[in-house]
């Protein structure tokens, strides 16, 4: 994460996303993304009941320059 820019991982796909609308998000959190923005934290227990796929924020070290660009 850099400022309000972050990278999320969904089953091996990595998407750039913004946390502007979710300032409380931090590394390792599960988030819901819509149109490039994280809009909600996800309750993991509840999510397991309702979702097959889960997205999470990760630290994309090798390409952090891409994230900040």
């Amino acid at each position: 994460m850099k400022g309000d820019k972050a990278v999320v991982d969904a089953m091996g796909n990595r998407w750039r996303t913004r946390t502007t609308l979710l300032p409380e998000a931090k590394l390792g959190d599960l988030v819901l993304i819509h149109a490039g923005f994280a809009i909600s934290l996800v309750d993991e227990e509840e999510a397991k009941k309702t979702w097959q796929l889960i997205a999470e924020i990760d630290d994309f070290e090798e390409t952090s320059n891409k994230v900040s660009g």
Partner: protein, 339 residues
């Protein structure tokens, strides 16, 4: 040897000195066969049979290089697969290049090497070819056309008319890999991924299947438009209907996640290393065994069957929750959906 940074000039397609250099120094050395080496106006082939299959395809994919392949590998495998699924053993390819002035030599060489490698792995020779160059802007970097000749396998006669109610539908592996890989690298959509194109030549597997079993009625490779398009084409082609089960269609979770994120239906996404086979019920076990013992068929699965048509031919899917819906012919250009 050309230096890095050198580019294709219009003269490379002009039939003169530069063309000659291009062919002799860059193309010929990569395609080591006597027929091509003759550089005759046409290749003279001695085929084992006069039952010959012939196909052509053009390749304009962007990006040119992607995880799992490139336009060159695609140009070989795509054409080989078209020959494979009609029941022939591919023998020879024609290779035609249209290159935009200014295209980097280094990239051209990479593509040529890739073509050569793919041809080698699949046991076909590039026996004839052509290179043209066009002004900057008249083509998007490089377009490739390949035409292929294959010899029909003895005793194999596939056709839509052979399909009957009760026949099963087999696919040799997971779907949507190629299309989602390309989409993931498309401008404006780019995302990093473990996705990898399934681009591969299928003739080795298809020939094995066709020579060792007798119940295969028809085959097709689900490229553009994916499984949805292919099943609809088959259904329309013979007037029968098809029912498949979502739970039985193999999909890699990474591919599914990427498709879900963008709103795509994975059934409509292109494949380049897959075939669909319509098989008599009594031959399915044998077919699956052969597939699973081959590197390109490990995840082979029976996904459905051919059924009677009630009103009009249609393809229906039973979803994971037991619901039913029609699998439509895709529009032809799938776009990501946000709302």
């Amino acid at each position: 040897m050309k230096k890095r940074g050198d580019k294709i000039l219009l003269a490379h397609g002009g039939g003169g000195q530069l063309s000659d250099e291009l062919i002799r120094h860059h193309i010929l050395p990569r395609f080591n066969n006597n027929t091509l080496a003759e550089l005759a106006d046409s290749a003279k082939l001695n085929l084992a049979s006069n039952l010959v299959c012939f196909t052509t395809d053009s390749y304009v994919v962007k990006p040119l290089f992607f995880n799992g392949g490139d336009i060159g590998k695609l140009a070989v495998c795509g054409t080989i697969n078209d020959l494979a699924v009609v029941g022939s053993a591919p023998v020879a390819l024609a290779l035609s290049l249209i290159i935009e002035e200014g295209f980097e030599f280094e990239l051209l060489e990479k593509i040529l090497t890739s073509i050569s490698k793919a041809a080698g792995i699949n046991g076909v020779d590039v026996v004839t070819g052509d290179t043209k160059t066009v002004e900057t802007g008249a083509a998007d970097k490089i377009f490739i056309n390949t035409a292929g000749i294959g010899v029909r396998l003895d005793g194999v006669d596939l056709g839509l008319h052979k399909i009957t109610t009760g026949d099963k539908i087999i696919i040799n592996g997971t779907i949507g890999e190629h299309g989602m890989t390309i989409i993931s690298q498309r401008e404006g959509i780019k995302f990093q991924s473990q996705l990898r194109s399934d681009c591969a030549g299928l003739a080795g597997l298809t020939c094995q299947l066709l020579l060792n079993t007798s119940g295969i009625k028809f085959m097709r490779d689900p490229t553009r438009g994916g499984l949805a398009a292919t099943l609809n084409e088959i259904s329309r082609g013979n007037g029968l209907s098809i029912k498949i089960k979502e739970a039985d269609v193999p999909v890699n979770p990474t591919v599914q996640a990427a498709a879900d994120m963008l709103g795509f239906d994975v059934l409509t996404i292109a494949n380049e290393g897959k075939f669909v086979a319509i098989v008599a019920p009594e031959s399915t076990t044998e077919c699956l065994n052969i597939c699973k013992n081959h590197s390109l068929g490990k995840k082979a699965s029976i996904i459905g069957e051919v059924v009677e048509t009630r009103d009009a031919p249609m393809v229906e899917i039973e979803t994971k929750i037991g619901g039913k819906r029609i699998v439509q012919m895709p529009y032809g250009r799938e776009l990501p959906r946000i709302c």
